[in-house]
Symmetry: C2
Subunit: 250 residues, 2 copies
């Protein structure tokens, strides 16, 4: 049996704050018994806010490329400028959408820049600077505080080609293998052994998103118990195709 | 709290069998208390087998198109022929991969045809004929047997663009809305109200896949308790973009 607990009483804070201590305090308040092998999933937005990865659009100077893309997509030019600064490459611009390779290598809408205009319509939240590094740091803090080796995942809710709706997706990881390699014969006559790979870190973040909700009113932390992962340092980059491997990149 | 139970003692059967009765028997054997609002997730393969959606590749006559695609991809021509028969349209053929629009409208590798060569290397399993209809029938059977209104999801494990590894994905649904519409202002200055959509049926199937495993040795049934879904007839087609809506279709 796998169990998922949502932790909803994380404080709503403005400006930089001590994320690790707030997470630890939130876990201590929860009626939970943490154990070795538990997985803490963190909604990326509280990490971005703790890191000050928030931009006031009124202070953004708009380039001519951003002006042109804003005209094509009907988006705010200041927002497009921020998206471009967060991106390595434009992947698709169509039907009012802007899909880019975000600087971490993720391919997603708007480079993960979220208007999240709850009260502050001129501010946007960016993805965290280095989610893997943050996950490692939080994992170490949890081990130090609770004496338990846990895995930490950082989730974002992202759209995808072909299918309607967004799902929770892993953008940062520490302490577990993001992929589970299932040996299996894929060749018809058994001549070749191929491997089937399951993106368990994405499945775990999708699971956590069910309980987190997507809005600021939701639970930004979820604890998953009972899933036997493979302990490893882990890197979210393992979840990303190299451009030349991806059939839908070209 | 959400809880997920894997039910692993579903019998390994060959040839057509009474799926509904086997599922009911499996649920009765499990140490579970079923309740209204529970979600039963079924791995598609037991449905396909129950429906006889299994093809002996030795009996497949290969068309010239299949021969040509087999040469391009390095796949078995008989397998390619079956994939083509299950497909409406070729989406990508590259690097040994064949991505098609399967006849249900799903875009996936090999039209969901699975070699699954456990003991029978010349047989392949197709996706179920009409997973929504099957989900509805099973849902009614469960209500009749247990007196509980549950939702039923049918899961397949599918790859996706941009990200490494496959994840559990919903291909059939009954009794719940596959999408959760989260009202939210997406416009920068609050002039327009847009809606964020979360594909909760896909997230639930990803969750179930964590406990099912992917091989025949895994649990083909998973029960999810504690997730508050929106009761609705539901249709898996709601999870699919229309071709003209999809930025990655062209």
């Amino acid at each position: 049996m796998i169990r998922i607990f949502g932790l909803s009483d994380f404080p709503v804070v403005r400006g930089p704050f001590d994320l690790d201590q707030e997470i630890i305090a939130c876990l201590k308040r929860a009626p939970l018994q943490l154990g070795c092998g538990d997985i803490l999933v963190i909604a990326h937005k509280i990490i971005s806010k703790a890191e000050g990865r928030v931009v006031d659009l009124r202070q953004v100077e708009v380039s001519s490329q951003a002006q042109e893309l804003a005209a094509r997509t009907g988006k705010d030019p200041h927002l497009v400028e921020v998206i471009l600064r967060e991106s390595r490459e434009l992947i698709r611009v169509d039907q009012g959408h802007l899909i880019t390779e975000q600087r971490l290598g993720l391919i997603c809408a708007n480079a993960g820049v979220d208007r999240s205009n709850s009260g502050e319509p001129d501010r946007v939240v960016l993805l965290p600077s280095d989610p893997d590094e943050t996950a490692r740091r939080i994992r170490a803090a949890l081990a130090g505080e609770f004496g338990q080796e846990m895995a930490v995942l950082i989730a974002d809710t992202q759209g995808r080609p072909f299918r309607v709706g967004a799902i929770g997706t892993c953008i940062g990881i520490a302490g577990m293998a993001p992929l589970c390699h299932l040996g299996g014969r894929d060749d018809l006559f058994g001549y070749t052994l191929q491997t089937t790979v399951e993106a368990v870190a994405d499945e775990l973040c999708a699971t956590a998103t069910l309980i987190m909700g997507q809005s600021d009113e939701g639970a930004p932390l979820a604890l998953i118990q009972g899933y036997a992962y493979q302990p490893q340092p882990g890197s979210s980059g393992e979840l990303l195709f190299k451009p030349e491997q991806d059939l839908f990149r070209a």
